[in-house]
Structure formats: structure tokens, C-alpha cells
Subunit: 345 residues, 2 copies
DNA sequence: AAATATAATACAATCGATTGTATTATATTG
DNA sequence: CAATATAATACAATCGATTGTATTATATTT
């Protein structure tokens, strides 16, 4: 049995009926009698019929597909966000196309074009570190394709986003270090044109202010927060005249590579320098000392963003395109910041 | 400017020419003169025209899209394989749709249906742990859609795959433990109906045999090799009458959770028990002690599998569907297995 | 049994692009 | 300049499904 390219027309011809009836039967329309429905279904499965979604979607002008653009799927936060997205989309009858920007603006733009060409019904985006210009989102807006930012959002009007309170998280992380007795805290920041990093940075400053610690711009290192950046930041930090006793890193990756670099320099964490990261990567609980960090549930963020997006798709072009949902994030205290208590060994 | 749904027909009407000419111009056909081509391109970009790939693909009966099915994208091996796949596909003009089976057979089957419905040109698969039955691949075969297994393959005739030599890797890992002085080595295996785990297991046995160590089936624990399985395996192991001095785990995840569990039990790695994992997850170099493991380049496997798949797509239905490419994998010796040398602290 | 209502199915246009063939316009040649 | 070659564009069918409308077949009512 060659199941090569069976169409509704083939089935129609064999059963000597019209293809529209076949189509309706396969879509379980009440306009087809139970008896013919069964005949059609039986023949379809006998021939191994498989609907051509290209044709169907073209005609219906609806793909039931969501596009997702993330910096990279290998980051724990993003892969769990994708898990949440897929789970939710799947339940609500949507497929998902995933694109990685790899932190490059150009790939982000290309991804949007691909998604547009594939006529996705909506898009979920967490922008790349290079993204400072948002023109590429105009294409989506002009075509009235709903899109929702999650985590790495843009502060442009008429957009929806699902985020955590980065300001508060940055504040909490920094205050935690202060309460541990840290007095000279450096901040590893990401690119400050990204809202999330700006907000974490503002939270850091606010915590210093509250506790009457001087803010010193020299103690803030901005980078892409990759592994090498953690190493580089440590070098810069050690070259400072100030004696550093705390690090608040805007992600775990840089925090962890910094901790390793500190170890190589014979500096003890947390006793000499306490460290707090951000994101709660899987590894953060496992390394030694375990890393104090901000836990943000990627799964929940992904789930919420997907629900919001699909509700916008369902509502047609009624403009509720300005929603902002804040997901709870909280500090997980682990060993890397326990200056006061004895660390269990 | 409402760029809502501009088609070649709109452009044709405005310029008072035929849509076929517009189509040819947009595809840079030599059949359209440079002058009209420019007029068309200018108007297209002015209107923000964006080709409808659904229509195009439907007509051409070619989507230039590859489907990828992996157990889960959060595993380092798979996310780097996907990086290799995307990179290669992208260069050769293909898009990629990624599906996660989450180790469930049902989701693997559904994914195949989705990919079939979306008329992908080819599929790359690494099967789930539940997959013992391969009927769902018949749909691909009947429709003459090429597919290539990578890493987790099936031993069924007329299929191509890109793999490492799991037997040799298992052998090397085990022999390494033996050369370190281990005499009673347990093996954490995955489901033995999967070729890769069977082969690693056979490699383990072969190494024991070569070095005249008795094989004992009680020392082999088969599981899905998740985090909890590592913990459970340690309990089982400690309940054995034998004094264990080595573990060869068929993945890093189980190896690492086992090491943590051993630590909780006051058992020293590597001095009391040496451990070797498999896959070289990112975390494996970072934990303490760092984990000796088999490095398999996901990127290279993904790249090679994609090249093979695309070459099969390009060659039409000429049957070269029986290729098997073996990618080098090698042991990375780290601290978790250094019984003889002093471990640097 | 005729008249009407309703159920079941057929007809035909459509989604947006592609492509083989036909036609018209320009260029070349003798 | 007429005859032919060739370039440029137009025509029309097609990919596979969906869906509003028209038609035929069956059921209901009087």
C-alpha cells in the first residue's frame, strides 16, 4: 500500500462522493451523516491519509502555530520556559516553532521573518542581548500578529509581557548580601539597555541606598554575562583599590565562573567574598559552595505568557495588547552567601 | 500603511502586470527583465510584502523544513546537537521544527504526525526511552520522507544513523576504572532495549572479561537514568553484599546525583568509589570532584546527521537509506576516577 | 398523495503562490 | 523592410483543503 500523497480527492473518488463531504467528515461536521462519516473515516485510515496542513492552514488563514524566539535553548531558564510554553500550547491545540537568536540581533530579525512567512498565529519573544532597536517587531504589529515578551522584554508601548519584578529581585539579592555583612559589593550586570538588567541594577542601587552604603559606578561591570565574562570580571575586580566582600551577579553563569576564578586565586567564598547569582540554573544547587540565587520559574513564566498570547489571538484584534503580568521570584539562600552562619561542610 | 496581507496579486494589480511575473521577479527568475524586476521589488518592499510560505510550499510540494525529535532540549547533549543541526540546516537553506518527546512514546508518535502534517522534507530523531516499537516510523517511510537517527537510534533495517561507538566508549570507561584499580564495578544502565545502552553495557562486560573480572548481573541497575535514579541506585548498591569500588554510569545525570548521595553517606569519591559518567554535561567539569566522562560532541553529531539527511533529501528517492556514520567520542579523565594519582585539592 | 420541511450531499470559489505554455513585443538578420 | 529569432510578459492550471450556496433526497405534516 503506497500511502504516498493521499488527498481528500482520492478518497472522494474511490467512494464516489464529493471531496467537500470528505473534508467535512474528517472534521466531524454535523452536516455529514454518521454512516458516510464512518465509510470515509475507514477508507481514510485504510489509505493512511494524513491531512496536508499547508493546504488547510492556507485556506483557513490560521495555522494554530506559535513562534518562540529565545536567546538559546540550552539555558535552563529558557528550556524550562519552553517546557511551559509547549505544555500550554499543546493543551490549547497549538503547535510551537522554536527559534534561537543566539544573542544576535540579525538572527532575531531573520527568525521573525521565518515566523511571518510561516504565518504563525502569535509570537513569544525573549530578546537577544544585542537587541537595542525594535523595528523588527513592527512587521508583527502591522500584520496584527499578537506577540508577548517574556523575561527579556522591551519597554515599548502597546506590548504585553510576562516578567518577574527584576527591581525587587535585584534589591533582595543585594540586601541579602548587606545583611550578611558585606560592605563593598560589586555588581555583574548585563547590557543595561535591556530592561531586566537595568532593573536589577536599579534594585542593587536602591538596596545600597537604603542601607547607607555608597554607590560606586566602578563596582559595576557590564558584559554579556557569559562564562568568560565572569573570569574577566574577577580580574577587573581584583585590580580595584577597594576590598570587595560581595558579588551580585545578574546571572548564574557569570557568578559560577567567577567563583571558580576566585577559588583559583585562593579567595574563599563566602568567607572572603559572598556571591549571589540570578536565575537558579540546575548547576547552582550542585556546585560547591552552592550558589545563592534568585529563582524564577521558567515553566510558570512560559505557561503564563502562552496563556496570555493565546487569549489575545482568540480575542481577535480587540486591543488588549498592553498587559503586563508579574510572576513571583524569590531569593534562594544557599552556601555561597552565608557569611554569618557557619557553613556546614 | 497597512501591510496586512499583501499578496503577489496586489502587487500585480497595482503595477498592472501579471502575478506570475511578480512571482518570477521575487524569485529572481531570468525570465523577468531587470527593469520590471526593480519596479516589482521596490513596490514589494514599499508595501511590506512577505511571501506566504504556506502557499509556496503547497504549490512546490517542498517545505525546506526539517523536523527534529529529541527526548528533551534541556539536556546539554541535545541542545548542542540542535545547535549543530540548526547551524547546518540554516546554511543549506532549511528551517527546523523542534519537538520534544519528553521520553514518552506517545508524544514521539504525535510529533511525527505533526511533522507529517506540516510536510517536512526530512526528520532527525533521537528516540525516547519508552520507544520499543518502531511502527510510527513507517508513516515516514511510506511517504518516502528521509529520516536519520542520531545518538539514540533503532536497529532496524533500511535506516541511516549518526552515532558514536557506544560499545567502545563503554569499554574505555570501564577499562579506565579497572586500570585505576577498581575490582567491583557497578554499571548504571539505561533501558536495555535502546541500542546505545545495550552497547555501553556490552562494552562494560567486554572490559571486565578482558581483565578477568567476574561479571555479575546483580551489579547492573537499569533505569531511566534520571536524577532520582542515581540516588536509588546508590541505595541498591549499598545494600549489596559486595564492596563496590567503581561506578560506570551510562549518563552524567545519574552519575552526579549518585556522587552527591555517596557524599551524604560519607563515602569518598574517588578514593572509596571511583565514578565515570557518560555525555559530558556542562556541569560535569564544574562539580567537585569533577566527573570523568565520555565526551560526545553533540554539535558534530547534529551537524553530520543534518548533512546526511539533506543529502538524502537532495538525492530524491534513490535508496542510499542505509548509511551509518560513527563520530569519535573519547574519555575525559577528571578527578572522580583518579584513584591512583593524588587528587589536587 | 401532495406540500412542505429538513437532512444529506454536490458544486464551485477560494486561500497565495508556482510554472508550463501561449502570446505579444522587441531585436536580429538577410 | 519583411522574416525570423528571441526576449518579455500574460494566461491558466495546479497544489490540497475549506466553506457558502445550490441541489437532491428523505422525512414530516396535513
Amino acid at each position: 500500500m503506497s500511502t504516498d500523497r493521499i488527498t481528500i480527492h482520492d478518497i472522494a473518488k474511490i467512494l464516489n462522493i464529493d471531496s467537500s463531504t470528505v473534508s467535512r467528515a474528517l472534521n466531524n461536521s454535523p452536516r455529514v451523516t454518521e454512516k458516510t462519516k464512518n465509510r470515509i473515516l475507514a477508507k481514510a485510515s485504510e489509505l493512511g491519509y494524513q491531512r496536508n496542513d499547508l493546504a488547510s492552514n492556507l485556506r483557513k488563514n490560521k495555522t494554530n502555530t506559535l513562534g518562540v524566539i529565545v536567546p538559546r535553548i540550552s539555558r535552563h531558564f529558557f528550556s524550562s520556559a519552553i517546557a511551559g510554553i509547549e505544555e500550554t500550547a499543546y493543551k490549547l491545540g497549538y503547535n510551537v516553532i522554536i527559534c534561537q537568536s543566539l544573542e544576535q540581533l540579525e538572527r532575531e530579525q531573520k527568525s521573525i521573518n521565518t515566523l511571518l512567512a510561516n504565518r504563525v498565529d502569535g509570537v513569544l519573544v525573549s530578546i537577544s542581548m544585542e537587541t537595542e532597536n525594535y523595528d523588527h517587531f513592527d512587521g508583527l504589529r502591522q500584520r496584527r500578529i499578537p506577540f508577548v515578551f517574556f523575561d527579556r522584554h522591551c519597554n515599548i508601548p502597546e506590548t504585553s509581557s510576562v516578567l518577574i519584578n527584576d527591581f525587587k529581585a535585584g534589591f533582595d539579592a543585594t540586601e541579602h548580601l548587606i545583611l550578611q555583612g558585606c560592605e563593598t559589593i560589586v555588581h555583574f550586570s548585563g547590557p543595561l539597555h535591556l530592561e531586566i538588567y537595568k532593573n536589577r541594577y536599579e534594585g542593587y542601587k536602591a538596596a545600597l541606598l537604603k542601607h547607607q552604603l555608597a554607590f560606586n559606578a566602578d563596582l559595576v561591570f557590564s558584559s554579556k554575562l557569559m562564562e568568560q565574562d565572569g573570569v574577566d570580571n574577577v580580574s577587573k575586580m581584583l585590580a580595584l583599590p577597594d576590598k570587595i566582600d560581595g558579588i551580585f551577579s545578574a546571572n548564574d553563569v557569570a557568578a559560577i565562573s567567577a567563583m571558580q576564578q576566585l577559588k583559583k586565586n585562593g579567595i574563599k567564598v563566602p568567607n572572603d567574598i559572598a556571591v549571589v547569582g540570578f536565575s537558579n540554573e540546575t548547576i547552582s544547587a550542585i556546585i560547591e559552595p552552592s550558589l545563592t540565587t534568585i529563582n524564577q520559574s521558567g515553566f510558570e513564566i512560559g505557561k503564563t505568557a502562552t496563556e496570555l498570547l493565546i487569549s489575545q489571538i482568540a480575542s481577535g484584534s480587540k486591543n488588549i495588547v498592553n498587559e503586563r503580568i508579574v510572576i513571583k521570584a524569590r531569593l534562594i539562600e544557599r552556601d555561597s552567601s552565608q557569611k554569618r552562619k557557619e557553613t556546614v561542610d
